[in-house]
């Protein structure tokens, strides 16, 4: 039986991984080595079990797929909050030091709050 905890469909996610492995003509040994996801985790996923959060994230990144696409119960009308998206991009930028990221986040947040509430009067 598929475990659809919180609407996540692990079978569908696993099938997407299987297709990725096949299309890249890789072995599961190579997948395990590249992603550091253990053989037992992959085996459990084949049995319909949900991977742990770290394995889910790593496999999603490795395959270039979005785990949110396998959540079927939530309405997809929720879009990512702007600040979260900006913060994510800044933190992922290897050219920025952590203190620079923090400073830019603070400035952007202040500007966003200002504009959101219509306080900026020119």
């Amino acid at each position: 039986m598929t475990d659809t905890d919180k609407g996540f469909h692990p079978d569908d996610f696993y099938n997407a991984i299987v297709k990725t492995v096949a299309s890249r003509q890789m072995t599961w040994k190579q997948v395990s080595k590249e992603t550091q996801v253990s053989s037992s985790t992959l085996t459990r996923m084949a049995q319909g079990r949900q991977p742990d959060a770290a394995s889910l994230a790593v496999l999603s990144a490795w395959a270039g797929i979005n785990p949110a696409d396998f959540v079927k119960q939530l309405k997809k009308s929720h879009t990512q909050e702007s600040l979260v998206g900006i913060s994510t991009l800044l933190r992922a930028d290897p050219k920025l030091k952590p203190e620079a990221v923090k400073a830019m986040e603070a400035i952007i947040q202040a500007a966003y709050e200002n504009l959101k509430d219509g306080k900026n009067k020119k």
Binding site: S38, S39, T43, R44, A46, Q47
Partner: protein, 189 residues
């Protein structure tokens, strides 16, 4: 059969990995039924199937006695999902070995396949069977376990009992892991 480069090391790594996940030391005995549960793979003793399906009683009885050499264990697929059926009329050491072999297929992510070919014969892929045939015993006695048993001075019979395996399997693992060579060196042979 010659394995691809790195396979034996990969097999030993898997054996140590699952032990770690189960909270076991590298040299600790491994219960294949507990491993199956950890991998979320249902395991059905053959006789239990007969209890649930009375129409199988005759067949199970045959495989338990006159035909006991014919059937050890099999993995049945539902899509990608596996269940394992094993012959529980066999000796406990044989059952452990058979189950470890099937779990080896699972951990190596060997692809799903029907149990029989179109001509009714068992589906048998030599490469995959050889790989599982290697990993199964390694799951039961990884290299570290074999060397530990030697270092602790276990007699072969006692080590076989400790790991729940046959003497043949124990001797095989002692040989291929280098543990026997180490033991002989320690004895000054």
């Amino acid at each position: 059969m010659k394995f691809e480069r790195g396979f034996k090391a990969h097999a030993n790594k898997i054996a140590l990995e699952v032990r770690g996940e189960l909270g076991l030391a590298p040299h600790a005995p491994l219960c294949p039924w507990i491993l199956a549960e950890h991998l979320a793979i249902p395991v059905f003793p053959m006789k239990k199937l007969a209890e649930e399906k009375p129409c199988l009683v005759g067949d199970v009885d045959y495989l338990s006695h006159a035909g006991s050499r014919v059937f050890s264990a099999i993995t049945v697929f539902d899509g990608c999902k596996r269940i394992i059926v094993h012959n529980d009329s066999h000796a406990p050491t044989r059952q452990r070995s058979d189950l470890a072999h099937e779990l080896g297929h699972a951990l190596l992510m060997h692809p799903p396949h029907p149990p029989f070919c179109s001509d009714g014969k068992r589906m048998f892929d030599k490469k995959l069977e050889s790989e599982a045939g290697w990993l199964g015993p390694v799951l039961l006695i990884p290299n570290e376990a074999a060397h530990w048993a030697v270092a602790e001075g276990f007699a072969e019979v006692d080590a076989a009992q400790h790991y729940g395996v046959s003497l043949d399997l124990l001797r095989f693992r002692f040989g291929v892991s280098g543990a026997r060579m180490r033991r002989d060196r320690l004895k000054g042979l």
